[in-house]
Amino acid sequence: MPSITMVESLNLALDEALAQDNRVCLMGQDIGVNGGVFRVTKGLQARYGKDRVMDSPLAECGIIGTAVGMAIYGMKPIAEIQFSGFSLQAFDQIEQNMSRLRNRTQGRFEISMVMRTPYGGGIRAVEHHSESRETYWAHTPGLKVVIPSGPRNARSLLAAAIADPDPVVFYEPKSIYRAFREDVPEEPETMPLGKAQVVRPGEDITIISYGAMIRPVREAVDDLSDQHGIDVELIDLLTISPMDTTTLVESVRKTGRCIVVHEGHRTCGIGAEVVARLAEHGSFEYLVAPLRRLTAPDLPFPYFQVEQHFLPDPDDVVETACELMNWN
């Protein structure tokens, strides 16, 4: 039961996949000798060779486009985009081919591939290196979107994403790449895609979040419990699309209050979708306080001298939860 960081657990999952299935191959900028700029692919080219762990030219569209072709031929490419902000360079290939070729060919082609990419703020990076635009992919039919929140689920979700017969966008919360360790079992494990996890059951209020935001939310949950006597039900989405509506509706039906917390921009963000699903499922009948979204504003991620307070923090969560608890 080694205790490892998320970078290590992702490396482990890739290593396991490469060892198990020779259809799996990795491609991306600087993923070979250099092991990726975050070292997620460290050592893998030495182990599996240049053809299975391939350094690509500096062209994201080229990476995704050729990966799609490899998938058609029966390989299982795992393409790394160095930072999620640069996946826009590949938007056309993602939407027009990766997400649609199964449908276009009425199921004849299987596009079993993963686009892995680090996303999100909090590492004091330069512009375009802190984006959280999972909405773009959640709004694109044909894709699945998966976001882990810790070393252990990162490994098992990545394994499940690789095994999945359909294209998966795998967003890695880079701010927690090395933030903490977790024990992982010796044997490979997978987790089903499409299932949210009730991280902590509770009675008073539901908080829904995912990815790097789970950490500050957990902090707030502890605080709410310890300082305010508020019993939070915390749900980690894990798969953003398709979304586990049942788990969400059941929880809010029970608690009557809900906050969604994410790093992405507010307008048409994942929070909007969560709220809309709850509303469609009659939340007006069981809510006792308004729904709340705690998100990044609709503003590009600011430069790092002033980024510190850009994202929702534990205090926001505590304050909002208290506000909703005291709703008249």
Binding site: I72, T105, G194
Partner: protein
């Protein structure tokens, strides 16, 4: 066949006089760099006469099969236009005058090679094994028309200009990894070549030494945009060279030249000698699509000159000179092809079924719950309308 230009990489055997140094480990070489030449291949001249010593002497059966395929393509083209005008077909993109490009680029492919068509490649698709009835379903907007038929290793045709070129390179990259001695041929237009992703594809192919043949049908037009507004360089083959891809220019209205050039390029690809770009110089004689009216933007007298360069007529002169095809026989072929197309139309009319209830079936391998709910909503709408 003449050797075409080679990529300008130091360690390769290039026709350049002074191979440039791989500069990572060498000083700057101030000698100018000879880029060599782009070969321009023509076998049959404008009048169908064969250039001395160039005749590839393909066997009779092959020649007649290729001829028939070209004639069939034209018959299909004409019929589809007529059907569209009669309201029996969706928007259609004719291929009149490009029949030699079309058949020439695929004739040498085997069943394990791959072909990635553009939307104007129906002749090549028929050669590859798509039934005409299948293609009619495609153009008539039935989902069943899109997937390649069983056993045919083709991509579905590409609607987003240039978007199929990178996946085709990916296919070839996978072939090389699997050590399968196959190749891929991808077809696109002069307009498509302006898409950055096509340049990326050339570069990936060169870096990976992928077994792929790029066939750019330079037909002078992209809808209303003539080649001189499309590109700063008339010779699109030059671009391949810039990325390190062996490149040549071929008379796209000369079926023998097209056959030779593609056969050779495919052979090289299968043998591990890397990618080739073939610029097939031809002309879009007809409409861009049935939604287009060329009289708005081009002088139709331009087209007249190209009538004299008709690839089928040129080939028939050659076949007649070889005593392979009399004009009566050519008429018979035309009649038989016409009949074949009509039979396909009958088939199409009898078998094409719209299946509005199936549209959710193939987005994912397994239907997610939320999509199933949306499907049920949609089915309720169909029920309400009485749609089966």
């Amino acid at each position: 066949m003449p050797e075409a230009n080679q990529p300008t990489r130091a360690e390769q055997n290039t026709p350049s006089e002074v191979p440039p140094p791989g500069h990572i480990d060498g000083p700057f070489d101030s000698r100018s760099i000879d880029l060599g030449r782009i070969e321009s291949l023509q076998v049959l001249d404008e009048h169908g006469q064969v250039e001395d010593g160039l005749d590839p002497k393909y066997d009779d059966e092959t020649l007649l099969k290729v001829h028939r395929a070209m004639v069939l393509t034209r018959a299909f083209d004409a019929r589809m236009l007529a059907m569209q005008r009669q309201g029996q077909m969706g928007t259609f993109a004719p291929n009149l005058g490009q029949e030699a490009c079309m058949i020439g680029q695929v004739w040498s492919l085997g069943p394990d090679d791959w072909f990635a068509p553009s939307y104007r490649s129906f002749g090549a698709q028929i050669w590859r094994g798509w039934s005409m009835e299948h293609l009619m379903r495609l153009w008539a907007g039935y989902h069943s028309g899109f997937p390649p038929p069983d056993g045919v290793k083709d991509l579905p045709f590409s609607i987003v200009i240039g978007s199929h070129v990178l996946p085709s390179v990916g296919l070839a990259m996978a072939m090389r990894r699997a050590q399968d001695a196959h190749c891929a041929v991808v077809n696109f237009g002069d307009g498509a070549f302006s898409q950055g992703s096509v340049s990326e594809a050339l570069n990936f192919a060169a870096v990976e030494q992928a077994p792929i043949v790029f066939v750019c049908e330079n037909n002078g037009w992209a809808i209303s945009t003539p080649i001189d507004k499309q590109s700063g360089n008339d010779v699109l083959a030059t671009r391949g060279l810039g990325f390190g891809v062996r490149s040549l220019r071929v008379d796209g209205n000369d079926i023998l030249a097209m056959m030779m050039a593609t056969q050779e390029a495919c052979r090289r690809a299968r043998e591990g000698q890397g990618p080739t770009l073939i610029e097939a110089v031809t002309y879009r004689m007809s409409l861009h699509t049935t939604a287009d009216d060329p009289s708005v933007y081009r002088d139709e007298s331009l087209v007249d000159a190209w009538k004299n360069r008709c690839p089928i007529a040129r080939f028939e002169t050659y076949l007649a000179n070889r005593n392979l095809l009399s004009s009566e026989q050519a008429d018979q072929v035309r009649a038989a092809c016409e009949q074949e197309v009509l039979d396909a139309r009958t088939q199409f009319r009898e078998t094409a079924v719209a299946e509005p209830r199936q549209i959710f079936d193939h987005l994912y391998a397994e239907m997610p719950d939320e999509l199933e709910e949306q499907r049920l909503e949609y089915l309720r709408r169909l029920d309400r309308k009485g749609v089966k």
